[in-house]
């Protein structure tokens, strides 16, 4: 015997009106795959004939049934209740009666249902403003807490595990070298090509070295390293802390008397501040190598000439400016990553949101800070 062989009987309601009772016969197989009849026919009967006071069912010809029949019955019963018609379910099969009593066992909680409301545009803008204000407040609070934990560190009272610090340094330093090498090499290469096209017009290819050297050390090396680290480490910090939030690990740390800002955030920020200047230096050198590759192979400049020119053009100040900028970026990346992680909600999707907004916030901070610092250097004439 297989269930599949039973050809399904089309399902329908047959209505039989014997005032004051309307008897509804339920016929056929009521399974989700079948085409459900239009309930409106029954509802119309109920609505038209005002003397209907009672609704009864007969189920002699009912075959198989599942959720399809249940949803139709619930609609009928709800409609009956609204119109003041008594619905008699006593003749329904036991299983259906049992399910119906389950459905109506817990009345809908008052106020639980949510109406979909359309917000006026002024309210949308207002809410946006309030959100920005709240975000800014949270940022200030977070920076304040970070400063307090740094102060605790300075007093030698910050509690975190030094082995954690080393792990984070390993994570954001040596492990990031391959991607930093690739990107900075290519950026150096691109700078060289862009400049070369113009400089070659005047036969001044040798100045490619100036362009690449200054461009990389003052600006691009640090910026590229920062953007890579924001995507790589900032997002990972946010995801790590967010998952810890979801698993109540941060709460556990608090109850054990640890300050999450010191235990989790401080070593992460320290690791990035220590590592970013080194990464920046490395990115600068890789960029210069990339520029040399292009200039030496395509533009008729020897390697020695190129390096000499670079050494003349790029001063220690340029390196220092790049490195200081990059250290600032490091703080910003760590701050935005850790802040979004600590603010994370308690579900899987909020961890994703935290990682995304960590990267977005990080990059925005980096670009704004970079612009400010560049303007400052320009005004100060360094």
């Amino acid at each position: 015997m297989t269930v599949m062989d039973i050809s399904s009987v089309p399902c329908e309601f047959k209505v039989n009106h014997k005032a004051p009772t309307l008897e509804v016969s339920i016929v056929g197989d009521w399974v989700l795959e079948s085409q459900a009849p239009d309930l409106e026919i029954v509802l119309a009967q109920l609505g038209d004939v005002s003397q209907v006071k009672r609704l009864a069912f007969s189920t002699e010809a009912l075959g198989r049934w599942d959720s399809l029949l249940m949803t139709e019955l619930i609609r009928l019963i709800d409609y009956g209740a609204k119109q003041g018609i008594q619905v008699d379910t006593a003749t329904l099969p036991e299983g259906i009666q049992g399910l119906l009593s389950l459905v109506y066992a817990v009345p809908e909680r008052v106020g639980a249902r949510r109406e979909e409301t359309k917000m006026p545009w002024l309210a949308v803008i207002g809410n946006g403003g309030l959100r920005i204000q709240k975000d800014a407040h949270a940022l200030v609070v977070f920076i304040g807490e970070t400063m307090l934990s740094v102060a605790a560190l300075a007093r030698g009272k910050a509690r975190f595990r030094w082995v954690d610090l080393w792990t984070y340094i390993q994570d954001c330093g040596p492990s990031a070298l391959p991607i930093v090498s690739l990107i900075s090499l290519l950026v150096g290469l691109i700078l060289a090509f862009v400049g070369a096209v113009q400089l070659a017009l005047f036969g001044a290819q040798i100045y490619i070295a100036d362009l690449v050297g200054l461009g990389m050390t003052r600006e691009m090396g640090g910026l590229m390293a920062a953007i890579i680290m924001s995507g790589r480490t900032g997002a990972s910090y946010a995801a790590q802390l967010g998952t810890m939030q979801v698993n109540s690990e941060i709460d556990a740390l608090k109850t054990m008397g640890f300050e999450p800002m010191e235990f989790l955030v401080l070593p992460r920020i320290l690791a990035l501040i220590l590592i970013m200047p080194l990464l920046c230096l490395y990115a600068d050198l890789m960029g210069i190598v990339g520029g040399a590759l292009v200039t030496v192979s395509f533009f008729d400049v020897s390697l020695v000439e190129y390096l000499n020119r670079t050494a003349n053009a790029v001063h220690l100040t340029d390196f220092t400016i790049g490195i200081v900028k990059c250290a600032v970026f490091g703080v910003l990346i760590a701050l935005s990553g850790c802040m979004r992680g600590m603010q994370c909600g308690r579900s899987a999707s909020s961890v994703g949101d935290a990682a995304t907004s960590a990267v977005v916030t990080g990059i925005i901070f980096i670009v704004i800070a970079d612009s400010l610092m560049t303007i400052m250097c320009n005004r100060l004439g360094i």
């Binding site: 989700l32 795959e33 459900a36 599942d66 959720s67 399809l68 249940m70 949803t71 619930i74 609609r75 036991e94 299983g95 259906i96 049992g98 399910l99 389950l102 459905v103 109506y104 066992a105 817990v106 009345p107 809908e108 909680r109 639980a112 249902r113 949510r114 979909e116 909600g345 308690r346 579900s347 899987a348 999707s349 909020s350």
Partner: protein, 265 residues
């Protein structure tokens, strides 16, 4: 006639070389509330993973009716598993979707019903588990017990023949746990579904279990099977008795011997 809805034949479960359980052989009949029990770490949940197609047995097979689960093609396995519903320990609702979307997900995927009909079914399922009106809530906005019931509503979305539960009453207060037990039993009675439950809640085991299997972590196999109450009354295995009495008979025995000793003195 009692139809077997699930048969486990000569199954060995292992992670790599590490054997969890071996020589499992039992049948779950249609309409049973079947309890998989055993101490912590004996492989109850792992067994469940094997039954619902998440983990392949190292040896042996699982049969749904006559059909083999693990020697079937991917498509056949998908068809078999469509007839089952699973409630995971913490509900496992997708957190980025509302309850209504969670429940509608399998329905939209596996049927071609219209949006209005799906909405009705979703409301019906939510009402069944006592969550009428909570359609537009996100899982993070409701309590753990409600999440579990919403998970149950999702497990029932496609009117499954077999429902699997992983520790349904874990993390619930006794009253909620009792209500969930009642709900499970009335769903079984009214839907005619088979229930397979992994649990070590003794109250549930005795209240609703109609058949069971006991897994032992030391001998790495099943050491008892049968209706839980009968096991308690008739089993001679001290491990089973200790489990089913929360180890209290042992204390009783010790106390009795102590009393005897003291009276001897």
């Amino acid at each position: 006639m009692i139809l077997a809805s699930l048969t486990i034949k000569n199954m060995t479960m292992a992670y790599g070389d590490f054997i969890i359980q071996r020589d499992l052989d039992f049948t779950i009949n249609r309409g049973d509330i079947f309890i998989i029990m055993g101490g912590s770490g004996c492989g109850k949940s792992t067994l469940l993973m094997h039954l619902i197609g998440l983990q392949k047995p190292a040896k042996g097979d699982v049969f749904y009716g006559e059909e083999s689960l693990w020697h079937a093609e991917h498509k056949v396995r998908q068809r078999i598993l469509k007839r089952t519903g699973v409630l995971f320990q913490s509900g496992a609702l997708l957190s980025s979707m509302t309850l209504a979307e969670n429940i509608a997900l399998p329905i939209t995927e596996h049927t071609c019903l219209g949006a209005q009909r799906i909405r009705e079914i979703v409301s019906y399922k939510l009402a069944l588990v006592g969550l009428a009106g909570f359609e537009d809530y996100y899982p993070s906005e409701i309590s753990g017990g409600m999440q579990k019931r919403a998970g149950l509503a999702r497990a029932m979305a496609l009117d499954p023949e077999i429902l699997f539960f992983d520790e349904p009453s874990a993390g619930l207060d006794p009253v909620s746990a009792k209500l969930l037990d009642d709900l499970i039993r009335s769903l079984r009675d009214n839907l005619g579904a088979t229930i397979v439950m992994v649990t070590h809640e003794l109250a549930s085991i005795f209240a609703i279990g109609t058949n069971s299997v006991f897994l032992d972590p030391e001998t790495k196999t099943m050491i008892a099977s049968g209706p839980p109450k009968q096991l308690l009354a008739e089993s001679h295995d001290p491990k089973v008795i200790r489990f089913l009495t929360r180890g209290e008979t042992e204390n009783q025995v010790i106390n009795e011997t102590k009393n005897q000793e003291s009276s001897d003195l």
